[in-house]
Symmetry: C2
Subunit: 324 residues, 2 copies
């Protein structure tokens, strides 16, 4: 089974969510949105980090940066909904005798607090675990699990922007312009000499800036985790429209060409749309992060890029992840 | 590192939560409690299920019951806070070619909906994963993880009882009586011929019944996952009191003696305290599940059981888990 098939399976089952009136948005957006009984909305997101899939095994990746990435990925999704993070939960399965367990917890506490989403709950298990008491025999379960790599599952709860409400992937309309924040396709952070996927800044401030500025004219937004092509196609599908990108307008990171900027994953920049008639500032005045117009929304389906006089389907350019 | 050491480490770091005014309760309770900006409270819980630790590997454990237990454990904690579940998030790492991925997802969707906490988001990864595209080389991460067992991390969001508010472990007072629901130490469900840890009913209805009935007189509550002795000591520690249990009063499951009823884990029954002067019904009138008075709250610390004229410390009787 492939992750994309699981994702499709989850989406098909999502139609059953309609009988739960308090589910405002389910799988298929950066965050789920639920309405509490009193009327307040909460944003919910879970993201996993698996050693060997999402980061190079320790010690190639420093423990503090493993913790940072685990939290930052889910925070980035709260940002993409225009939200404010409030709290973090972590489930962790740790290698036995890994030697870094406390440092890892400290890192998770530190980074969760950094983004104002304090770590309020957790559950830890240890690979290759042997029970020290005899009660296990009563449970009918094997008490020894094979040793395995580090797995972190991070859930973040947030709230949407007070005026704008939750920004979803599904709001793009024909006649919108398409924008991204920052630059795409960068793999290396020159300032820290680390992989950018370990050092990216979730665009919380920029997303709030856009919500404040545009209100309901901020039609759709998501974060770019699997590449502009693949993620653009997801936004297009959620909105029932076609995204037409211009290769020359895509802000590629130094050393990257537009192909890399479209296909590279883990940019964690914002992709958003707003009416083409509205002027968008060239940058977020709070942070200096650029906003670049890169295309337009048309009737149709899919995500294409115009390059060298041709129109190229880029819907499959990028990474396949199992996010739902 | 042991799970109890990690737990202690998390608790020590929890003091830093005080600077976040919206965190009503953090690690050390069955659920975390956070206040949203508009004043509504949310209950948050994460629980993990690891193949070989929490259940016998498939196919010894049917996939639908793996899904059931994964969801039920977190739902039980929402119940223990007197709450109502609203939504579920699942992070899963699946064995490659396990053959049951879609059945597992179906089971998670089914059981989450069963307890009115629909599955609104998920993230899946697959062990022994190889990228099918070439972009991975740019990410600086190894693209192949070792094969491993099934890991499920389930987060449930709920809301507290409307009148009572969240019930915590920390409210027990000297002069309270101590109660449990149901029977303890059962390992086998005679009706289904399955391990009880796979078939238990989270005590949502019973907890709501108690909140409705007792209001603020329901001083403290938790669910019993690691054994009455160990969990009783946790409630005692959270409340700054001593629990004195009477061995003859503990409702042991058929075939179990009081020692097994105290030390057996995964009962998922409610442990609660209320003023000894208040009469508690012998059962929940909605479900028929019994409430049994099993002891009293005194000044002091720890959890002891009176048996055969002696007072025995039972604070370490039970399972060690990494729940925080």
């Amino acid at each position: 089974v492939r992750e994309s098939e699981l994702l499709d399976h989850i989406y098909r089952r999502s139609s059953e969510l309609e009988r739960f009136a308090h589910v405002v948005a389910g799988p298929g957006h950066d965050c789920a949105v639920i309405a509490l009984p009193g009327g307040e909305c909460a944003l919910l997101k879970v993201d996993q980090l698996v050693e060997g899939i999402h980061f190079a095994p320790f010690p190639r990746t420093p423990v503090n940066l493993i913790a940072r990435k685990a939290v930052a990925r889910a925070i980035s999704d709260i940002a993409a909904a225009g939200g404010r993070p409030l709290a973090t939960l972590v489930g962790g399965v740790l290698p036995r005798d890994c030697g870094y367990a406390e440092d890892l917890l400290d890192g998770l506490v530190q980074w969760a607090a950094h983004w104002n989403a304090p770590l309020v709950g957790g559950d830890t298990a240890i690979w290759d675990f042997s029970r020290s008491d005899s009660s296990g025999a009563e449970q009918g379960t094997s008490q020894v699990a094979p040793a395995g790599p580090l797995v972190l599952s991070v859930s973040v709860v947030g709230v949407p922007h007070g005026q704008r409400g939750p920004v979803l992937r599904s709001g793009a309309r024909t006649g919108d312009a398409v924008y991204v924040s920052g630059v795409l396709g960068g793999t290396f952070d020159a300032r820290t000499a680390l992989g950018r996927h370990l050092t990216f800044e979730p665009r919380l401030i920029e997303a709030r800036f856009l919500c404040d500025l545009l209100g309901d004219d901020l039609h759709a937004m998501m974060d770019l985790s699997d590449g502009l092509g693949r993620d653009g196609a997801r936004l297009a599908a959620a909105s029932g429209v076609k995204l037409v990108l211009e290769s020359a307008a895509i802000p590629a990171a130094p050393g990257a060409r537009w192909q890399g900027a479209i296909a590279g994953g883990e940019d964690y920049e914002l992709l958003f749309t707003a009416p083409a008639t509205i002027a968008i500032p060239h940058q977020c005045t709070d942070t200096g992060v650029a906003f670049q117009r890169i295309g337009r929304v048309e009737a149709g389906a899919g995500c294409v890029v115009q390059a060298e006089g041709r129109e190229i389907d880029c819907s499959a350019m990028g990474w396949e992840h199992g996010e739902g």
